[in-house]
């Protein structure tokens, strides 16, 4: 029987999973756009401007989806998790408030200038607007990750009559897991955007685009990914060590360690079974987990049986392996790509196809990673302060079932439309002649949209 709690959890997971897809692209994509704009201002080569024009439209689409799916989140706290605000509202409220005040307005307003203002403001102001939007998206990530990290590793507060009160805001914001989580997420966004850019650029080339712009953006994406992937592996390791220190039960679930042991193996594959409290079909590297987590051969890793409560093991265990697996794949693909680039020749078609296949690889890794960290926090909503089950709304399950069904249907439609639209945009760019985009083109103006009465494809020569 599905009750309000499980339905609300599914709804929150669905909403936030769908939402995170878009910020995980836009946070870094805006810096990439800023880079294109800077390159254009510096070299005066119009190819950078063409790259900017194409990607700013893709950015706007992602941004719009991020905004509208984000608004849903701000209502969820009240509609589905009233206990959350009643218990930790004194902490969560101001952090969310700062996100709105310092980031949302900044992004939204300057995005207007970025998109529509190219002929209305001086070029420097336009470049500046791009920078401001990039800073805004990062600030947004800063505040929301400060809050999320505080829920994982609370600090700087005290409990009075069952309600959390802040005593040191710097400790609240810079709580133990925040610096690691924030860096990890920014790098994740960088990798997601890099593969997104590389994937769509490769798609354009495969579809017969002879222009320079997609080649340039493919290179940008691959080089960025090749640089960020190893850094992410390093930061991810640090983040893991931080979790090992503050949330050892999460690590135990990630590694499916049941009994506390010295020299714990690093499991490559296993089927954890919570009933028998053991793993089946385990394949592992001896001492691997101890080596990674304690940096000693025989370090002690606390097992799940040592904890009174621990998160469900399977999703955390598999989620972690999926994230790391995709990360390694990204590293391999990006470095192969850079190898081709260094040989100064066009990557072979098979490689371009692989890159197209990797377009949304960042999404897989980001979602898997977030599931690890959020399911790994259970049964707590805010570690040691509030349990998820105690925060849920008194609203009847039928209501939640109704809203959840609506959201899921809408998300299915939106995701289909989103991917379809990306394809349409890419194909349109393939068919557009170079000289058309050299000048601000009429086909791209919002008041001169392709009209359905005339022909089938706007922007086509």
């Amino acid at each position: 029987m599905l009750d309000t709690l499980i339905l609300s959890r599914i709804q929150f997971a669905a909403n936030i999973s769908f939402h995170i897809l878009f910020p995980s692209i836009t946070i870094a994509l805006c810096w990439i756009l800023f880079f294109f704009k800077l390159q254009h201002d510096r070299t005066n080569d119009p190819v950078w401007m063409r790259a900017y024009r194409f990607w700013v439209k893709v950015f706007a689409l992602n941004f719009a989806l991020g905004v509208v799916t984000g608004i849903t989140m701000s209502f969820q706290f009240g509609t589905n998790w009233p206990g959350y605000m009643e218990t930790v509202g004194n902490i969560a409220g101001p952090l969310l408030g700062y996100e709105v005040l310092t980031a949302f307005f900044l992004e939204a307003t300057f995005l207007g200038i970025m998109l529509f203002g190219m002929n209305r403001v001086p070029n420097k102001v336009h470049t500046f607007a791009t920078l401001i939007v990039a800073i805004g998206t990062m600030l947004s990530a800063f505040w929301i990750l400060a809050l999320n990290s505080w829920m994982q590793t609370p600090a700087g507060y005290e409990m009075r009559d069952g309600v959390a009160h802040a005593i040191d805001w710097l400790e609240v914001i810079f709580n133990p897991s925040f610096p690691y989580r924030f860096t990890h997420m920014l790098l994740a966004s960088g990798l997601t955007a890099a593969f997104f850019v590389a994937g769509i650029s490769a798609y354009r080339i495969l579809k017969g685009d002879e222009k320079r712009a997609p080649r340039l953006t493919l290179k940008t994406g691959l080089v960025l990914a090749a640089v960020l992937a190893p850094i992410q592996a390093f930061v991810g390791d640090l983040h893991g060590l931080n979790t090992f220190e503050h949330q050892p039960q999460k690590i135990a679930a990630m590694e499916a360690v049941w009994e506390t042991e010295r020299g714990a193996p690093l499991l490559l594959f296993a089927v954890p079974d919570e009933k028998s409290r053991s793993n089946r079909m385990a394949v592992g590297i001896p001492h691997g987990a101890s080596l990674i987590l304690t940096h000693t051969f025989n370090g002690e890793v606390r097992g799940l049986n040592d904890f009174e409560e621990h998160p469900p093991v399977k999703p955390v265990f598999y989620g972690f392996r999926l994230m790391v697996g995709v990360g390694l794949l990204m590293l391999a693909v990006a470095w192969t790509g850079v190898y081709f680039l260094r040989k100064r020749r066009e990557p072979p078609r098979w490689f371009l196809k692989v890159v197209v296949g990797m377009t949304f690889s960042g999404w897989v890794a980001v979602l898997a990673g977030w599931y690890v960290t959020e399911i790994g926090r259970q049964p707590w909503l805010a570690t040691g302060i509030l349990k998820t089950a105690d925060a849920v709304t008194p609203v009847p399950p039928g209501h939640v079932g109704f809203s959840l069904t609506m959201y899921l249907l809408l998300y299915a439609v939106l995701l289909t439309a989103y991917i379809g639209t990306l394809k349409v945009m890419a194909m349109k760019a393939v068919r557009t002649e170079e000289f058309e985009t050299a000048e601000p083109d009429q086909a791209g103006s919002l008041t001169h949209l392709p009209q359905s009465s005339k022909g089938t494809h706007g922007g086509e020569a």
């Binding site: 700013v56 905004v67 608004i71 359905s452």
Partner: protein, 339 residues
Amino acid sequence: MSESAMTFADWLPVIFIGLMGLAILIYAMLDGYDLGVGILLPMGEEDEAQRDTMIASIGPFWDANETWLVLAVGLLLIAFPSAHSMVLTHLYIPAAIMLIGLILRGVSFDFRAKAAVAHKLAWDRAFKIGSLLTTLTQGYMLGQYVMGFDPGWQPQLFSCLSALGVTAAYSYIGANWLVMKTESKLQRRAVNWAKLAGRSTFLGVVAVSLVNPLVNPGVFSRWFTFPLVMFVLLIPVICFAAFVLNDRLLARLPKERDRHCRVPFFVTVLIFLLCFTGLAFSFFPYIVPGKLTIWEAASAPESLMFILIGAVIVVPLILAYTAYSYIVFSGKATDLEYH
């Protein structure tokens, strides 16, 4: 020392309800006009060019406009968490439908310009329906809020009336926005919409103003207490005058050289301000009418202080760059280009 600190702690909820009121008011005006433009979207095949211009007129603004709603809900959540929970659990279904509406219109805006041409009309429909869902549910929620979430049939009826009233009001400000931002055929069309929407809004405001004091005895005694009555009745009087003035002016628009094309929009802004003041005056200091005052619902002073410092620095900045963006995109919408 400690006494003055006490007083300040008592003032904090008042400051925050003021900030929240400001956010709601700015939201109603700004997102009001872009929702209104969405509602008014003509769906005929021959209207496509007009639809493009209408949507272009709100292009650079809608996103920031919507952010005021996030700020208002955010402030409710930050400053009055228990009211936030009480209001939103009562309004679970309408809030969910409103969010669907907001999502639909937000994405349609982008998809219509970028998806395959064959789908453009479908996204325009989604934009219109999304806008309509948003305004109807907002009006319904306002009605429910005023009625203290009473589930009886009369409050339900009142909430439906309020849904129509708010939709009319948004169409009114939206139409006047178009009168200001467009020209020739579309502008003449917008003038007609504005006249119709203005009269409907007027009826809605009158109906709500009559029903509200009749069903809420507290509201009645607040408005009709001598000698305050002499002063506060200025609100409906000015409001009435503004409606009449606008109606007369619209009958003569567009004028030569497009004179006075901005006036109806700003008169509508004044009407919004007056209606909002009237509502606020009716219920202050209750945050949930008849149930919860702002002091009962307020969160801890140290949290309010922390966010207040930020708000004092940042809100003027937000207002400044918002004004800048309106200056950059001033003039008729037909010139707006999207690169």
